[in-house]
């Protein structure tokens, strides 16, 4: 890989880091199509690279969000319990799968991601929390919302759904390197009564744990190429530092919709390329 290609990858990774850290999704939805179809990297190497970088985004974004008390660590553990199993399964399937089939599944995953991003998010109104609330797993919490400038309290429902969501998101990460945000965020928001901002920030934390499982497998099979991974890693790191700083100031709905449109276009480009 020549110096110019590495510079282009580095600049694109900064942009990807900013966007994915704001949206709480894995970097794979941007990196895998870019590395595969623009730079010409084999898809399994691209998936492996994006998994390493998913850990970077997760770590960088989580450190900022934990400081702002937006990440619910207890809730994250419910998802992480099964996402590690799902991540292993997904990575094993991907390593034995044909390149074209993997690309087709990836294109479908992009459209599904776009659908969940455009779909109207459930608004979770702030509630009063009492000491005698039934909360055996200590999942109820609160955070300060920068957009509405007030503290929001929330009660988490159906924690067992975290196991189901975790397994599915782990599978998506291991199979496609896209992180688990496409599953984690809707499950938390629509079915567990978690506000979108807490869902995205908690998802960012879970993605690091899931991606580590899958990345270790890809590493052991030699699909992680150090120079490529480090170039993307450093770009993503810079982007993920900037992302959380601007998240509170942007209208998240406009950002979601714009990005969803881009994903659909990329999915169609992949399909068009596959079928000549």
């Amino acid at each position: 890989m020549d110096f110019l290609a590495l510079c282009v990858i580095f600049l694109f990774s900064i942009l990807a880091g900013i966007i994915v850290s704001m949206l709480g999704i894995g970097a794979g939805v941007m990196l895998v199509p870019f590395l595969t179809f623009v730079i010409g990297v084999p898809i399994k190497v691209a998936i492996a690279t994006s998994l390493v970088d998913a850990i970077t985004v997760s770590a960088t974004a989580s450190s900022a969000y934990i400081k702002e008390r937006k990440t619910n660590v207890r809730l994250a553990l419910w998802f992480a319990a099964t996402s590690t199993v799902g991540g292993t399964t997904g990575a094993l399937i991907a390593l034995r799968m044909d390149r074209t089939l993997l690309s087709e599944i990836f294109a479908i995953a992009l459209i599904v991601t776009a659908y969940f991003m455009i779909m109207r998010r459930k608004k979770v109104p702030s509630v009063k929390l009492y000491d005698n609330d039934a909360d055996p797993f200590k999942l109820n919490s609160s955070y300060y919302d920068d957009e509405i400038k007030q503290k929001v309290n929330y009660r988490v429902k159906h924690p067992l759904l975290g196991f189901v969501g975790g397994f599915l998101s782990g599978n998506a990460a291991g199979l496609l390197g896209v992180g688990g945000g496409i599953v984690n965020v809707p499950v938390m928001n629509l079915f567990m009564n978690v506000p979108v901002k807490v869902a995205t920030t908690t998802s960012a934390f879970i993605i690091g744990i899931t991606a580590a499982t899958s990345a270790a497998i890809y590493y052991s099979y030699g699909y992680i190429h150090p120079l490529l991974a480090v170039t993307v890693l450093e770009g993503i790191f810079l982007g993920a530092i900037i992302g959380p700083k601007v998240q509170g100031r942007l209208k998240s709905e406009a950002l979601n919709t714009g990005f969803a449109v881009v994903l659909v276009v990329v999915a169609f480009l992949i399909v068009a390329k596959l079928f000549g």
């Binding site: 890989m1 390493v52 850990i55 970077t56 997760s58 770590a59 960088t60 989580s62 450190s63 934990i66 400081k67 008390r69 660590v73 207890r74 553990l77 419910w78 992480a80 319990a81 590690t84 199993v85 991540g87 292993t88 990575a91 094993l92 055996p136 797993f137 200590k138 690091g208 744990i209 580590a212 499982t213 990345a215 270790a216 497998i217 590493y219 052991s220 030699g222 699909y223 992680i224 190429h225 150090p226 120079l227 490529l228 991974a229 480090v230 170039t231 890693l233 450093e234 790191f237």
Partner: protein
Amino acid sequence: MTRMETNLNRVIISGICTSIVISSFGVVVLALQPETVTDLTLVPAQLFSGIKMGNPLAIMNFGIILLIISPVMWLLTVLVSFVGERDRNYIVLSIFVLLMLISSSVIITHL
């Protein structure tokens, strides 16, 4: 921030910074001796001897490995906090996640 959040935050930042610094050092060494490199992953034995010899590829690989194992440290930090709080439910859940994370990686490399 709670004590757990403060400790977790410190561990996350230390892990990512250490791996970035080491990987970046690898890139600097590579820039100084570009003829020595083929971009492939190394097995552990090559990795440690490579680091001793200042092989940029080995240094970058080491940074990447540190990054991959850093979530293990996050989970250990969370576990220690729950032990301190004597929160049995979450001690069990953290141990389970930790074991799954470690065992899936270890088992799979022996398949």
